[in-house]
């Protein structure tokens, strides 16, 4: 007990990790406000769906396709970005640095029960778009009503 009081940091870190995980679950319908707020260093992401697929869009300005590593782990989509380091010139003085730098990992829990079928990813004008085709069981089933 005592040690926990002295070192509250690991506990709070775990708490924040879980809270972040909870807040980054895309199954929320909340689209604005607190749940949609972005922590610093995080790349902005939109998740949406239509009848056939889920779409994950992420703002990745300046990132080359070879710097992105996408993987599916169960129903989670992991996006790893390893920026190749630009050599800072010695003759430069930075007046303002607001853009995100360094490596980033983002895990998005997909709102479905089974692993998505197909995945394709493209980058256009600095926006990464990942399309994940829904498995048959995740699609909306139309039921026709017959008349007797």
């Amino acid at each position: 007990m005592y040690s926990e009081l002295v070192y509250p940091y690991p506990l709070s870190r775990e708490l924040f990790r879980r809270l972040n995980q909870f807040l980054s679950m895309p199954s929320f319908n909340e689209t604005e406000g607190f749940f949609g707020s972005l922590s610093s260093g995080e790349l902005a992401t939109n998740v949406w769906e239509d009848d056939d697929a889920f779409y994950v869009e992420m703002e990745v300005p300046g990132i080359k396709p070879e710097e992105i590593d996408l993987s599916i782990i169960g129903t989670e989509l992991q996006i790893k970005i390893a920026r190749s380091h630009e050599q800072d010139s010695k003759n430069v003085r930075y007046l303002r640095r607001e853009r995100i730098a360094g490596n980033t990992v983002r895990t998005i829990t997909l709102p479905m029960d089974s692993t998505p079928k197909e995945l394709n990813a493209t980058i256009e004008a600095g926006i990464l778009c990942v399309r994940l085709r829904k498995p048959e069981e995740a699609k909306v089933q139309k039921i026709t009503v017959s008349q007797k």
Binding site: Y55, E59, R97
Partner: protein, 134 residues
């Protein structure tokens, strides 16, 4: 010393709303760096196109505008699950003053990044002064 003061003021910002009739806009994050002969502004503006970017330099103020078209929004069956970025337009303005050579400002857009080169005015460039021998 007064030269240093001028340089610090070059990046002072004036994010005045461009036009009240326009849609809400986003302020793109920027890196501003100073080199021996120029200032460099790099702005993250993903989702726009080269032809939809408008850069103006007027009375010492640099204004950057980027229009974002949203074809995906037209899909009627789209259900948003999670939304962290908006598809609104970009706008940002900087007070630069007379410290740049306005006629030679260059800009290019690639992979969602707008880069603006602002060559320093002759008066700000370092000059080597030769010592003449009598």
């Amino acid at each position: 010393m007064s030269l240093v003061e001028t340089k610090n003021n070059t990046a002072s910002q004036t994010n005045q709303e461009p036009n009240t009739q326009e849609k809400p806009f986003r302020i793109p994050p920027v890196d501003i760096s100073e080199y021996e002969n120029e200032y460099l502004i790099e702005a993250d503006m993903p989702g726009t196109k080269e032809e939809n970017i408008d850069i103006q330099f007027h009375q010492g103020e640099l204004r950057i505008r980027g229009v974002v078209n949203t074809p995906n929004e037209k899909i009627t069956k789209r259900i948003d699950r999670y939304r962290q970025f908006e598809t609104s337009n970009y706008y940002r303005a900087f007070k630069i003053g007379e410290s740049v050579n306005a006629a030679e400002i260059l800009a290019h857009y690639a992979n969602g990044i707008l880069t603006v080169h602002l060559p320093k005015a002759e008066i700000l460039k370092p000059r080597k002064i030769e010592i003449s021998q009598k």
